[in-house]
């Protein structure tokens, strides 16, 4: 996130990376508002295009140094702009939500689809998706590392232990499958946990202006998953 500030080309690239990383939560958020896949995708593209053209998030700091909060704030702003300028039909396509919207007054309430009733807080949904994205990225990184070390099967077998407990199979069974000693499996699990922990933390710290807030953000994400 530090890299992503300012007007340098480097900052552009870094911001682009971050946006790419968290494309999924944004897309899911838009989908949740009742759009179909294509419409949501198109809207997300436009949203990110605007973020990138504006050149980063140091002009204002609504998220207090958190990329997650910044992105959600920008997204809401973007959506309300969309509604105001009546670009819905052109940009968003004609989903059920949109037709409802057209029929009613041109305000935010009309855009709220059924999903809103299930979980009243759009922020919670966004944070939930965000947490999943963080985990997915950290896991993908680990998986890639194991692949590069030509040990993809180890990752597949051992990853359930990242949850704290193994699945039905015991460590001894895992050792048999992997043709290793049980002791070696234990060490591998220990290392895997540690590596995952570091991966998650570094992933999170990328989205924070102040890296010392990692623990706080981690707690927030765990709460969002509850």
């Amino acid at each position: 996130m530090l890299r992503a500030r300012g007007e340098t080309p480097e900052a552009r690239v870094a911001l682009g990376e971050l946006c790419e990383a968290y494309y999924q939560p944004v897309l899911r958020f838009l989908r949740r508002e009742g759009r179909d896949e294509d419409a949501a995708r198109e809207l997300a593209q436009e949203f990110f295009a605007r973020i990138l053209s504006r050149g980063g998030f140091d002009e204002a700091d609504p998220g207090r140094g958190r990329f997650r909060s910044y992105l959600l704030g920008a997204l809401k702003h973007f959506l309300s702009d969309q509604r105001k300028h009546g670009h819905r039909l052109k940009r968003g396509g004609g989903g059920a939500a949109d037709s409802l919207d057209d029929a009613g007054a041109d305000d935010d309430a009309g855009a709220l689809p059924i999903a809103e009733l299930v979980s009243p807080e759009p922020e919670c949904f966004f944070d939930h998706e965000w947490a999943l994205a963080v985990i997915a990225r950290a896991l993908a990184l680990l998986e890639r590392e194991f692949k590069e070390a030509s040990r993809p099967e180890q990752f597949d077998v051992l990853k359930p232990w990242l949850m704290g407990e193994g699945p039905a199979m015991s460590q001894a069974d895992a050792a048999r499958v992997l043709k290793m000693s049980e002791g070696a499996v234990k060490v591998l699990i220990h290392r895997l946990r540690k590596r995952f922990r570091n991966a998650v933390r570094s992933e999170i710290s990328q989205t924070l202006r102040d890296p010392s807030l990692v623990d706080e953000e981690l707690r927030h994400l765990i709460a969002a998953l509850s």
């Binding site: 947490a131 077998v157 949850m163 002791g183 998650v200 623990d215």
Partner: protein
């Protein structure tokens, strides 16, 4: 792969795993796992990691491995035998998983080096340490006995035994501190009692050399085994990098408290004397070791040892109903942890004097002396010469007025000093002076008042009749009783002592005073009777003069005995 089949519900929390979960893993548990230190898993998995005896035997051909006798965050301890030396030893092993972690290995090596430097009868000796292909190990003295935790659970501790054990631990700590070694994890599990009653401290595993340069965070942040929360001194939480030997003193205080009461001193904990038959002097020592501020604790284990041993000395019984009752001890200002009576020299050097107490005492002393002299003088003047006219009354008024200022100032300073000393919990000198300054004038006024009433009673007894005097008697006795109570209450307050519940005593004082007063009135009436019988007057008068000199005689004499 077959074993990567999606799980429907999380094996950890049991919640169903949502469809969008990355890699089909419970997202919440996996993130919680990432938020928790990786090392906390040790304790949970330790059971399955006990190395098999065959493996150990293969690694240590020079030992006969006998049985597993303990395990903790730092490894496993086996009882073993050295056949050639025909002795038992304790073999401590680092779990092989941890042995691959350089951080743990470093801690282990540190424990060995630190322990090997210590040679004391109350510290478990280290014979050897090092590493084999699979294990990091320590070979230590085998202690045949139990640890303090087991002993406490067996319920074999009396306060007297605690008072024997604690000084031994102090001795060992003093020695280790002298070598620059802190224990940092004093707890009942680490205090061993052998079959012959010897006390030995084990596990200087987290000991850290005093004065070592910048603390290595990776060594101290591993959480799991570093320090046991209930026994840790406050500064071990707050400033873990600035811990010194006084943290051990605090931990030992917790152990001491637990030995006495069977409970941990958590929150606002009760005094040991309210839980077990010990005196307030034991409370005092325990409270001092448990001071949150380490500056207020005993400053060395040796000092603590002296104090604890002093509790067991003849004449200073630590027990209720002993040769000196706690109440008597409490009434002696010096025993309030104030330095007047018997603190060791080291303490004398650090405790400052309360300036306010000194100046307060000086002012009160200066102002009180002339007043007492004046009172005595006035009594005598009125008794022997009849100069009680104009100039004397004026002089008395002027002197009293002149003394008001130092008297008030001294009293205020005395109370401020007392409050300071109280805030320093006995770590400031001048407690008796402060008490004198704070109470001198108040008590003086109260007693004078009571005596004044007594004198008035003499008038009343011979004037309107004995019934009036009898009515005033409780007032007089009440004033004196109140003066006594106020003195002790203030002394207790200054020394941070709880109320001892001695209301009963006050009742007796009050009754005693009533009886005395009654006797006094009877005496006055007898005198009056004697006055009417001139034959009996002389012996009674002589007798009375020896009984209570300045208090009653002058008045009685002046009014009842005709002067020649």
């Amino acid at each position: 792969m077959s074993n990567t089949a999606r799980l429907d519900s999380c094996p950890k929390c049991g919640a169903s795993i949502p469809a969008g979960a990355p890699q089909g893993l419970c997202p919440r548990c996996i993130l919680i796992g990432a938020a928790t230190a990786t090392d906390t898993g040790i304790a949970a998995t330790a059971t399955s990691e006990i190395p098999s005896r065959d493996r150990i035997a293969a690694a240590f051909p020079q030992l006969e491995i006998l049985e597993l006798i303990g395990r903790g965050g730092m490894g496993f301890v086996f009882k073993a035998r050295q056949p050639r030396l025909d002795r038992f030893v304790a073999l401590k092993l680092l779990p092989d998983k941890l042995a691959r972690d350089p951080r743990f290995a470093e801690r282990f090596n540190r424990e060995g080096r630190v322990l090997a430097k210590l040679n004391h009868p109350n510290i478990v000796s280290v014979f050897d340490f090092g590493s084999t292909e699979h294990f990091y190990f320590l070979i230590m003295e085998y202690v045949d006995g139990v640890n303090l935790r087991q002993a406490m659970q067996a319920g074999r501790f009396s306060p007297a035994e605690a008072l024997v054990i604690v000084p031994k631990i102090c001795e060992a700590l003093q020695y280790a501190h002298g070598q620059g070694v802190l224990h940092r994890d004093i707890k009942p599990e680490n205090i061993l009692l052998d079959s012959r009653g010897h006390v030995k401290i084990a596990d200087f595993g987290i000991a850290k050399l005093v004065g070592e340069e910048t603390p290595d965070i990776s060594l101290t942040a591993t959480g799991a085994a570093l320090g046991t929360p209930h026994y840790m001194a406050p500064e071990q939480f707050e400033k873990p990098f600035d811990v010194d030997h006084r943290a051990d003193i605090y931990s030992l205080g917790v152990v001491f408290y637990e030995m006495l009461t069977g409970e941990l001193p958590i929150g606002r904990f009760a005094a040991p004397s309210s839980k077990t038959p010990v005196g307030a002097n034991v409370d005092e020592v325990v409270f001092r070791t448990l001071e949150k501020d380490r500056e207020r604790r005993y400053q060395s284990a040796g000092e603590m040892k002296t104090q604890v041993e002093h509790l067991s000395e003849p004449g200073v019984s630590p027990f209720k109903g002993g040769s000196i009752s706690p109440r008597v001890v409490e009434a002696t200002p010096g025993a309030h942890g104030a330095p007047a009576s018997n603190p060791p020299a080291a303490h004398h050097a650090v405790a400052p004097w309360s300036q306010k107490a000194i100046w307060g005492a000086v002012l009160v002393g200066i102002s009180l002396c002339p007043v007492i002299a004046l009172l005595v003088f006035v009594f005598f003047v009125r008794a022997f010469g009849n100069i009680g006219g104009g100039p004397w009354g004026l002089i008395v008024l002027v002197v009293l007025a002149a003394l008001t200022l130092p008297a008030i100032a001294g009293t205020v300073l005395g109370w401020m000093g007392l409050s300071d000393i109280r805030a320093h919990a006995g770590q400031m000198r001048g407690y008796p002076l402060a008490l004198f300054a704070a109470l001198g004038w108040m008590e003086m006024i109260l007693f004078t008042l009571a005596l004044g009433i007594a004198v008035m009673m003499a008038y009343v007894a011979v004037g309107p009749g004995p019934m009036g005097a009898l009515l005033m008697l409780p007032v007089c006795a009440g004033a004196i009783t109140f003066a006594v109570w106020a003195g002790f209450a203030a002394a207790r307050w200054g020394a941070n002592k709880p109320a001892p519940g001695t209301r009963g005593k006050l009742r007796w004082i009050f009754c005693g005073l009533l009886v005395c007063g009654f006797g006094y009135i009877t005496l006055v009436l007898t005198l009056r009777h004697a006055q009417r019988n001139p034959e009996a007057a002389d012996p009674v008068q002589a007798d009375e003069a020896t009984v209570a000199p300045p208090r009653t005689v002058p008045q009685a004499e002046a009014d009842t005995v005709p002067r020649p």
